[in-house]
């Protein structure tokens, strides 16, 4: 192959490499996912979130007001969010995953202003079969996003623990709070 053809071949290969890279980047997730243990703080852009506990039941009260009764179960996940950075994040997505299914939280989460924290409940309505292995997911999007932080927090509910919990609390009352902000000391 003479020198002129070799140069053309390199240019074509470079173009193919760029197309391949673009395609690969378009297909890959744009989040940087971190698994966080129950009770441990997970880091997002300007905040941390800690999952404290979870409860289940059939009737839901929010700050002592009756919300509703579920044909399946309510799962309330108690979390503490502290904003220790310089600004409050505005674009959080909170959800849940279990058995390959995704769940949306009933209400948007409150993210406090800088220097404050809030402890509140995130409520899901799920099938009893999805209690075991339920994982809370929190994604913090930046305005121009690339590899935004996403946390996966396994509630640590084993099949045995789920069976026991359902036997004990399936028809219980779940009392949740939307929380009040307090200074993060």
């Amino acid at each position: 192959m003479n020198r002129r053809w070799a140069g053309g071949l390199i240019a074509v290969l470079a173009c193919l490499a760029m197309i391949g890279l673009h395609t690969w980047l378009g297909e890959t997730p744009r989040e940087h996912t971190t698994r966080v243990a129950l009770g441990k703080p997970g880091r997002l852009y300007d905040s941390t979130i800690t999952v404290n506990s979870s409860t289940i039941g059939q009737a839901l009260y929010s700050d002592n007001l009756f919300v509703g009764r579920s044909g399946v179960i309510f799962l309330a996940v108690n979390v503490t969010i502290a904003t220790d950075g310089t600004r409050r994040s505005l674009d959080w997505t909170v959800g849940g995953e279990s058995n390959g299914r995704s769940f949306a939280a009933r209400d948007p989460i409150t993210v406090p202003e800088p220097g404050f924290r809030i402890t509140q409940d995130v409520v899901f309505e799920i099938s009893p079969d999805d209690l075991a292995g339920f994982t809370l997911t929190v994604l913090d999007r930046a305005p121009i996003y690339a590899y935004d932080p996403q946390l996966e927090i396994d509630l640590g509910v084993t099949p045995d623990a789920a069976a026991q919990s359902l036997e004990k609390d399936r028809y219980a009352v779940v009392r949740t709070t939307r929380g009040r902000v307090e200074v993060d000391r």
Binding site: T86, R87, R88, E113, P114, G115, F116, P143, I144, R180, V181, E182, V183, D184, R185
Partner: protein, 177 residues
């Protein structure tokens, strides 16, 4: 210069060119996504809102543990303070609206508290919805809840900066007192 040396030099030049473009692009993106604040003179008029068209000034910025309304005193949570900014503005004829953030010198920024977050009514209207007086200006107030450790480093009020911002500086309204 032999052929091998020339090939290495060409490869090096290409690498440096790619590196320069990458560094320049990343630097430009960083500059666009990092707001550049420009402090005004104390009490000076400026146009801080992204859409423009409404000059404003901060007449005063005070902090207090107790918010006084016609329904009594509203205490801030333990360790927190209310920051009350009194603003003068020249509303355009078509009406006005403002959402300003409170900036601290360390970069922290707080959004305003809604009047629904406290009980009662205050002497000044909240926000910038009042009609102009005879001199073309109106007065309102914006209230913030801040931690006590932020009270000593408040820089002033600035417009909410959109995500895809330019590289131009954004005015920070410095309180007159």
């Amino acid at each position: 210069m032999n052929a091998r040396t020339r090939q290495w030099m060409v490869a090096g030049a290409v690498f440096l060119a790619v590196l320069a473009v990458t560094v320049g692009w990343v630097g430009y993106l960083h500059a666009r996504s990092t707001p550049h604040w420009q402090q005004t003179a104390p009490g000076a008029w400026a146009d801080p809102l992204p859409e423009g068209g409404m000059p404003m000034r901060v007449a005063s910025l005070t902090t207090t543990p107790m918010l006084i309304t016609d329904r009594g005193d509203q205490p801030a949570p333990a360790g927190a303070l209310w920051a009350i900014a009194v603003i003068d503005y020249r509303p355009p004829a078509e009406g006005s609206y403002c959402a300003l953030i409170l900036l601290a010198a360390d970069g922290r920024r707080w959004s305003g508290v809604s009047p629904l977050d406290y009980s009662g009514k205050r002497a000044l209207d909240s926000g910038c919805g009042s009609p102009a007086g005879a001199d073309g200006t109106a007065r309102g107030e914006l209230i913030y809840l801040i931690p006590e450790d932020g009270a000593g480093s408040l820089a002033g009020l600035a417009g909410v900066v959109s995500a895809y911002r330019g590289t131009a500086p954004h005015p920070v309204l410095t309180p007159a007192r």
